[in-house]
Structure formats: C-alpha cells, structure tokens
Symmetry: D2
Subunit: 338 residues, 4 copies
Amino acid sequence: MIIILRSEASDADIQAVEQKIRNMGLEPHVSKGVQRIVVGAIGDETKVDKEALEALPCVENVVRVMKPYKIVSRDSHHADTVIDVGGVPIGGNKLQVIAGPCSVETAEQMQQSADAVAAAGCRLMRGGAFKPRTSPYAFQGVGVEGLEMFQKAAKAHNLPIVTELMDVRMLDTFLDHNVDVIQIGTRNMQNFDLLKEVGKVHTPVILKRGMSATISEWLMAAEYIAANGNHNIIFCERGVRTFETAYRNMLDVTAISVLKRETHLPVIIDPSHAGGKAWMVPSLARAAVAAGADGLLIEVHPRPSEAWCDADQALSPDQINKLMGELKGIAQVIGRDL
Amino acid sequence: MIIILRSEASDADIQAVEQKIRNMGLEPHVSKGVQRIVVGAIGDETKVDKEALEALPCVENVVRVMKPYKIVSRDSHHADTVIDVGGVPIGGNKLQVIAGPCSVETAEQMQQSADAVAAAGCRLMRGGAFKPRTSPYAFQGVGVEGLEMFQKAAKAHNLPIVTELMDVRMLDTFLDHNVDVIQIGTRNMQNFDLLKEVGKVHTPVILKRGMSATISEWLMAAEYIAANGNHNIIFCERGVRTFETAYRNMLDVTAISVLKRETHLPVIIDPSHAGGKAWMVPSLARAAVAAGADGLLIEVHPRPSEAWCDADQALSPDQINKLMGELKGIAQVIGRDL
Amino acid sequence: MIIILRSEASDADIQAVEQKIRNMGLEPHVSKGVQRIVVGAIGDETKVDKEALEALPCVENVVRVMKPYKIVSRDSHHADTVIDVGGVPIGGNKLQVIAGPCSVETAEQMQQSADAVAAAGCRLMRGGAFKPRTSPYAFQGVGVEGLEMFQKAAKAHNLPIVTELMDVRMLDTFLDHNVDVIQIGTRNMQNFDLLKEVGKVHTPVILKRGMSATISEWLMAAEYIAANGNHNIIFCERGVRTFETAYRNMLDVTAISVLKRETHLPVIIDPSHAGGKAWMVPSLARAAVAAGADGLLIEVHPRPSEAWCDADQALSPDQINKLMGELKGIAQVIGRDL
Amino acid sequence: MIIILRSEASDADIQAVEQKIRNMGLEPHVSKGVQRIVVGAIGDETKVDKEALEALPCVENVVRVMKPYKIVSRDSHHADTVIDVGGVPIGGNKLQVIAGPCSVETAEQMQQSADAVAAAGCRLMRGGAFKPRTSPYAFQGVGVEGLEMFQKAAKAHNLPIVTELMDVRMLDTFLDHNVDVIQIGTRNMQNFDLLKEVGKVHTPVILKRGMSATISEWLMAAEYIAANGNHNIIFCERGVRTFETAYRNMLDVTAISVLKRETHLPVIIDPSHAGGKAWMVPSLARAAVAAGADGLLIEVHPRPSEAWCDADQALSPDQINKLMGELKGIAQVIGRDL
C-alpha cells in the first residue's frame, strides 16, 4: 500500500499515518519528496483498511500495490482451470456454446428447443424457470415445474442444463432437480448472501457481470463464492450499461483478454442479452470467439416471434445452425476447437 | 403503444403487426406516411409485450405512450404522500435528516452516535448491522446483536431506526427487533424476491437507487414493493456510476425534480455514499435540500477516523451540528421546514 | 413526428400543438386515448423543431419517426459504398489494415515503419504529424516537416497515407502535401467548422467517433461533411468512455453491425486506442474483423518501447505480421478477403 | 512517480525501469516487497513519460504522485482568483448570474432579453451568434450581425456579454466586437488549437466541461489556455453524459467542491443545458448555489416557446425574477452575496 500525503502535511500528520500502519500490522516507510511525502506500508495488504488511511488528515491518495482478489487470481493458479459439467469441459481448448430459450414455456417448446440445440452441435442447454423482470406485471417464469420440463427435454439429448437462481430459498430445489450449472444473473452479482450460499455447494456457477460492475468488482464477487469453498466459477460477460441507446447493452469485448490475464477461470459471453436484437447476435458471437472467449450463452427458440420473453433476441434453429459453422471456422483460425 | 415500421414493410408485414396487436387485446390503427408506416395500438398498454412486437419483421421502433408504473405514479395519486415513521413524518413540508454511523460497532459507539444525532436535531437514526462489502475478507457487520445495541441506543432518544436488509431470510428477525424503516441497498434494488417480501409487510422501506439504474427502472422496483401491498416507500438517491474517478459516485441532483414529478412518494438523498469523502458532504447535503429533497441520510460517527467502515465519509458530531444549521436556513428560503 | 400529451391536456393545449405543427408546414392528426392524447405530424419531418413542440404546455414526449440523417443513411443508398484511396478500395469485400506509428518522429523511424507495414501486407499507412495531447507540456507532434518525412517513407512502398487534421487553418497544407486520407480525431468529431471545411474538399475522411458520442450523433457529424459535398467518409470506432478503468476505452463492437445497417459507408476499427495496451490489440483486432468491420487502424512502431507517444500500445513488426495472418483466416471464414 | 512491477519481474526488468527513469532525468529508488517490487522515481514528474514506463516488460501500474496541472492548480496559488469582467467580479464572495437567450435572433428579441436580464438583477448577459448544432440542417446562428445586435442591446443596460467562439478564424472578429467573455463550448473543450489561441489574448474565457470529460482532463484543458498566457479562466459545469435518459445531461454537482479544492479559478454552473427542460432549472440552479458555485449561466428568453433554439429550456422573465430571489436567500445562508 502506498500513501501519498498533501504537501502541507505536518510531522504530526506523518506520524499519525505511520501509527495507523503499525496498528494494522504493517511497517511504514516514509520518503519525502520536494512536493509530496510518500509513505509505503510494507506487509500483508489484505489487513489494511484503505478508508481508515484515507480518513487521516493530509492524506491525498492511497494506492493498492496488490490485487484484492486471491483464489480467483491467476497469481494464485497459473494454468487455465477446466470445469467439468457432466462430462462437458468448460475452459480448455474446446469452446462450448450453451443455447436455449430465454424462458421455459411448455414441455413441447422445451423439447423442440432441445432438438434444435443438439442438432446445431451445442453441448449444453440454457432456459429460465424463474425470470427477473423489470416489471412486476410481466411474466415471471413458470417456476418449479419449469425445472422438470427442462430436465426432461435436455436429458433426451444428454445436455447438461444451465438455469438462473434468483432466491436463496430456492437453492435446495435446484439441487433436488439436479441443475448442472447455476446461473447468477446480472442483478444479483453483488447479492452477497446468495453468493455465499452457492459458494457452499459444488455445482458449477455462471456468474454474470453486473450491469455496471467493474472487472475488479466482478472478480471480487467471484471471490465471495470461492472463499466459501466452490471454485467452479465461470465468468459471463453480457454487456454493460453506457450512454448508447441504439441497442440494449454494450458488449465489453475487451473484458475477455483482461479477464483471461487476471484469472485462471473460464470466461464466456452472452451476445443475446448484450445487443438485445437477434440480428446483432451472429456478429457479436463471432467477435467473442475471435477475441478468445471460452464459450457462448445464446438464446434460441423454435419460433422466436412467439417467445414469452425477449422475443426479439432469440435465434431460430436455422440461424444457430449457420452461426455454429462460422464459429467453428474462427475457432480453428486461432488454434481452438468447437 | 406506437409501432413504427421500416419503409420496405409489405402489406403482409403490416397485417402481422395488426394481428399481434389484436391478439394482445388492443385495437390497431394504421397510418401510412410517405416514408414510414405508423401503427397505433389502442387499449390497455400493460397487456402489450413490447418485445414480441419488436421481433416482427420490418418493425423499427416501438414507443410506449403510457408510463409502465402505476401505484407509485403521480398519475394515480396527485398529492404528496407523507409516511409516518413512529410519529415522524417523511414526505411533507418538514424535512427529515436520518443520521448515524455506517455500521454498528459497539454499545458505547452506538450510544455516543445517538447522543450526537439527537443533539444535532435529527429525528431518525441510521446504522448497519449487516454490511454489503465488495470484499469477502472485509468486516461484514456485527449481525443480529447489532440490531439490539442499535435499538437500545436509539430508544433512549426516541429515534426511530433505519437499517439495511440484505437477506430475505432475515426479514422476520428485523420485524422481531422492531426495525422502524427497512433499507434496501443499491446492490439489491433489483433483487426482486427481496422486494416482493418487503412488499408483504407494512414497515416503511427506503429503496436506494441501483448503481446504474435509470429512474424508470427505479420506479419499477418500487412498483414491485407496492404491487405486493406495501405503499410506504421512500426513494433514496445515493449517487450513480459514471466515468468520473475524482470521487466515488456522481450525485444525481436532477433526479430529485424528476422523481417529485413522476411519483407522489418521498425522495431523500444520501450525500455520504455519493461523494465518498466527508469534506464533500456539506456541499452535497445543501444542494440536495435546495433542489427539493424531502430529507437526507447522512453518516455520522463519534470519532470518524476510527470507524470500522467508510471511515473517510462520516461527519463528526461538530460537523453534523454545523450542517444542520445551514440546512435549516436553506429549507426556510424555499418555504420548507427542518 | 409523434407528440404525446399529458392526460390533463386541455382543448386549448391540443390546439396549440396543432397550430405549431401547421406553422411548420405539416399536418396534425389527433388521436384521443383513454389516458393519453397522441398527435401525429404528417409531412417532412426535417422541417420540425422538436424542442419547440416539447416546450408547449402538456407535451410529455416527442418521438421522431424518421432518421435525422439523410445522405449517409442506407435508406438513401442501399448498396455498400466503396471508397477509392489511391487505388486501394475501402468498404468492399476486401478488408484494409492501415498501420503505422502513433506519431512521426524521424525520417529513419518512418522508413523502418513503412518497411514493417508493407512487409506485413498492409496497404495503407498511418502516422501523426500533429498530436492532440491531454497536456500542453507533452510532445505535440513534429509538425509540417513530419508530413514530408511521412510521404517520403510511404511513397517508397506505394502506401497511401492517413494523418490527423486538428486545425482548420492547416487544411491547405494537408492538400499541398497530398495527404491521401484526412483523419478527424475523436476530440474533433463535433468541431463543426472543421467538418464543414473537410466537406468542401474531395479527399477521403476518416471520422473517428467522439469519446462519448452516440451512434446517431456520429452519423450526424458525418452528415455535416456529406452535406458540404464530400461523400468519401469512413467511420472509425476507437472505443468509448465508460466506468471501467481496467483499460483505456471500451471498444464498441456492437457499433459495427448497427452502423452497417444504418449507413452505406465503410466502418473501420482502431483497436490500439481502444484498449490502450499492445497486449490487448490482437484480441480486439480479431474481434473487429469477425464482427464485420471493413478494416482496421493499428499502431505499429519499429521499437515500441522507444515510441515518442503511446509507447505502450504499438505493435512491433513481428506482432503485426503474426496478427495479419490470423485476420486473413477470419476474413475467409466470413467470406471476405484481406 | 511510482512504478509497480509484476511479481515475476527479473533483475534485468528492474534495471530497464531504473535506466528509463534515469534517462528522463529522475532518480530511481527500488523497494522489493514479498509479492511486488515498487520503484519510486524521484524528481520533476512533468519530465516523465508515463506510457514509456508502462510499455516496459513486467510493469503493472504507474501512479503519478503529483498533479499534472500547474498554473490552474490551487497548489500554485492558494487564494481564490477573482476575474474582472468590465467591472463585474467573478470568483469572489459575490455570485454572478449570466442570463440571456440561447441564440441571438433579432434586435427586438435581444433588447427584450436584455431588459429582462437587467430587471431580474443579473449583471452579465449571454447569447449565441454562432451555434453548435447536432444537425447540419438546423439553424446555425445569425453570425457576425448577431454580435452587433447583442452588443447594442447589452450596452443599454451596461451588461458585459458572453458568447461562444467555435472557429479559431473568428477570434479577431470577436475581439473587434469587444466580446467581454469568450465561451468555449463543451464540444470544443479539447480543441487544442482553439485553446492555444484564446490563451494568447487577455479576454476572460468560460471553459465548459466536455460531454464526458473527467475533472482532470478539464483542468488540463484550462492549463492549455493558461500555459499560453491567459489566466482569466472560468470553469463551467453543464452536465455530463450518462446512461440516464429522463433528462438531457446529469449535472455534476459534486464537481463544484472538487474543483474549488483543486483550482483557485472560479466555477460556475449552467443548469439550463444540464437538465434541458425549463421546469428543472430552478431546482438545479438552487442546488448549484447551495453547493458553493461562484455563479450561474442561465437561458432566459422573452417568449420561451418561440425561441429559435432550445425552446424547451429557457426561463421566462417572470421565472428568472422569482428564481433570483430564491438564489439570493440561499447565498446569504452560506455567507455569500448575490
């Protein structure tokens, strides 16, 4: 930790900083420049309360030297982590496309979706039984029965299932229904009690990025899960909020290479929620694979315009089929496999 | 609802739009211009699935005519709502300042805080027993015992208490401890299951704005609470996320007049979490009152630099005292009372 | 144009709106719903002053039906425009990579840069003689002599040159030095007098997106150039400003498909200024090509760590060479050529 | 300057950093921690090229210790600077409200505007003869004749005039017409050639903040003017771009206290362009004064709904009159004068 003091800092101010650092169990090291005084705090930075230092008189800036995340950091584990989801590996050289409808609607719709997903060559399936909707008056998902319909349709094609958990009280039901991957949605990225609970089980977790979460906050949210014992975490970028209104969210394609550098865990992309329109999805999906993502999460519906939610962003069976061909080609160019 | 079609729309495209509108129980009204075709959908707009219309071929844009929120809308209730919190009114001509420490630490700290808050003339007290922290390794709050210490200290001065609920499973404990106002924090603004549960009780709720929530999404989050039966909702703006790094969050002072126009419910401001530095708080607090806020939520600590969290943003007893004097003066200028 | 009135609008309010619409030369069409009154304004929307309508009592919202841009719009010209730059086509099936150093430094550096650019197979060269720097104390570019060094080095390899024009008074000098493509930088995207002047010449213009310009504002900035007569405009996305601090700017990869839909003009990407770090460039460059960009603008320096500006973002000759191979492969997958 | 190296840095990497620092004329000071190596660069930081250091292998982060701005910094001049504009002081204890129409339209409109401005007690007048408009097809200002009409109307009431300069070639005309304060608009905040030219004259300059400029970039833009010799600079915050769409821009009220701490120069606020609606202006104007601004820039028009531009944001003569009374009251509460 480095503490930069204002030029008018008195000897008493400097001593207060030194004392505070010693109280935290670190060793201060003062260096007086012409216009600024800089104090280094040497030792275990995780013990330091940055705000307590910033609150002292004449402290202008406090800069961390270490990253605040540990278990999820590539510093702590150099090789890429590969997560096994019912025999399907996520995070290695092989890319995975997780496809399926926004929400579970009917047994028939799920069966047709599973057929389309499997036919396109995807090896995992997505679908929501509980939906976070902006309006309390909108369709909120079919609920627990949805999990059953989903499992039945997916099992027929041997597809592990991915579905969103919104309420901590529903976790046991998810486990009872053998959900293969628990998705934590963008609105719950910092629902810390939910993170702690999914940290106590072993089911892999897809952690979506918060609407305006920094990459650092996102890594810290994953650290909450990891610190509770579950290291099977997959990051999913799904677009962030900006000033642009021409589409729903701005896909942060740069986050892919930054995350691959900062963490050993897999990184996937959701191009459907990013753009918010089906016609944008192929372009974004190709970009994500070219940029180095480990996989994709894509909305597919047997009849998109009849979908019960997000009707304008689902691909049709034909569209996902064509897209998979392009993605395979791009994966090969960069030495990977789909 | 108004649907704007692309210029190349065929008669079949137009008919598909008309049919979809009829299926939703509204009446279509087509108007052909030189370069665009515009279709109005007349009837109850809450029945309309905007995305299903946007998914149709040749639809360029779908514009809502009505506001998506109802119970919280000023359209549904013209006069200002005044919420009674243990005899203290929030939302009328009289402004309220809710002050207290970031977190409950010890019985002594809470007693000293309550003394300072009451001495400054504030009529409600804040303090957190459960803290949402970015890092899993940071102090997470003292927990349930904190609620007890808090109640004891506040009762001595007859101050109703405000404290944050993060976990839906803790709601009964909050009710058992007679929490006067439940605060829903910024990270949980769209934790819809939590919103539904606090919607089922009668305790007033302070709903903080999400880090990058639009005003419309915020109103819809309140609508979740209201739709479940609890209309005692207080909006609290606490700064939003932008590109600026000179301070923590950007206080959205414009949101005050927009909200006062859109909703009949009270609007308060948290200047402490906005700026993130104690020296910014008086300026922001004065601005909020001058702009028309119904109250403030301010961090006060008996010895700020020793606070267990957010040490750099709490005011000292002297500082809150001085600030209250200025706020009283500004309130009078605009015909209000503090 | 569609005007939505508040529910309390009186007959006089409606008549004032109708009168204003007639004064603008359009025909009003009133439609009264249960809770809102909607007025359509039929005719030439470019004659409408949106703000004058919004200023009328009881007007809640005014929605454009038409796009505000014309010449640059794909509505006015369906086929892709291909711009000829000294025999090199930009905007067709063939992608172009424009590479070179951030700034012109010395004759030797420019010659080595040109060698590297040509050897990698790039067909145009970039380099700045005038540099927009945040600090008045930083290196501001070598000036006019830089244009000469640049031309000499590029001519040896038959590479058309791209360089930034910051000051309208320097335009004649640019023409005298046969600059092949004039770049308008991000800070000047809405320097309207500069746009008007480059609109009066025939030299192709690369128009970089403003730091936080919406796609619509960017198209309107291009319309300024086009309206003055110069239709040889190339859009260049270079990352926008957001809350994220892990890299310099957020590359808006979604803008590619949106722009290709809205305009017939070519769209290229600058991955160097987006991420701001050389190690991010290959990932972003591949993403841009996969997403459908018509070309790239990349910083290349013979010895990056010695560059006089943006030293941390230039690729070395080896790095651009390797990257070109990957880009060629991706281009082929999507049926294009590099 | 503090340079933080990655943990895997070799001795050669450290030496390369030390050598680079010495080449820049500073002295390196290496401090090896358990997990990171930190190098201090002691000496004149303005000589340091941050990017050249960041480009070296194993450098993770480079942190400035000093502020990059000098002349405008409060470090270089502790007392508040008061700028004299034709006898009217800006920046001292007395607040100034600069009012007038968005654009100069006719001699009559300017005369009525000047009457209203003077009657309300404002001591300076604003008005645009050249207008930066998003669309090339919108009204662009009446031009040079506008300056004449403006001067004539303002002189009758002894009001110094403030008007926007967009084109560097028009500077002499502004001087010939005795413009009292040159306004640099938000789109030109980083038009460095324009900044350099207004830096060479002595006319006071109002420097508006760029649409998404950080406070640091804004101070550096002022430093461009100051470094060229003109120290009569007034900062004007006018709202910044965010994700919120309920109003035009988000007024950054926190910027007031940050700027007053960082610079000795005056800081004023433009509430009209911030919110973009007349009904928001009083609330924002009061907030700005309460927060500590040195003045305001407000749009006033004799008949707002007939204004040729920004019709929806101008106050009427009655409205500015009422607002001035409230502002006077708030100024008194905080020990200032209007």
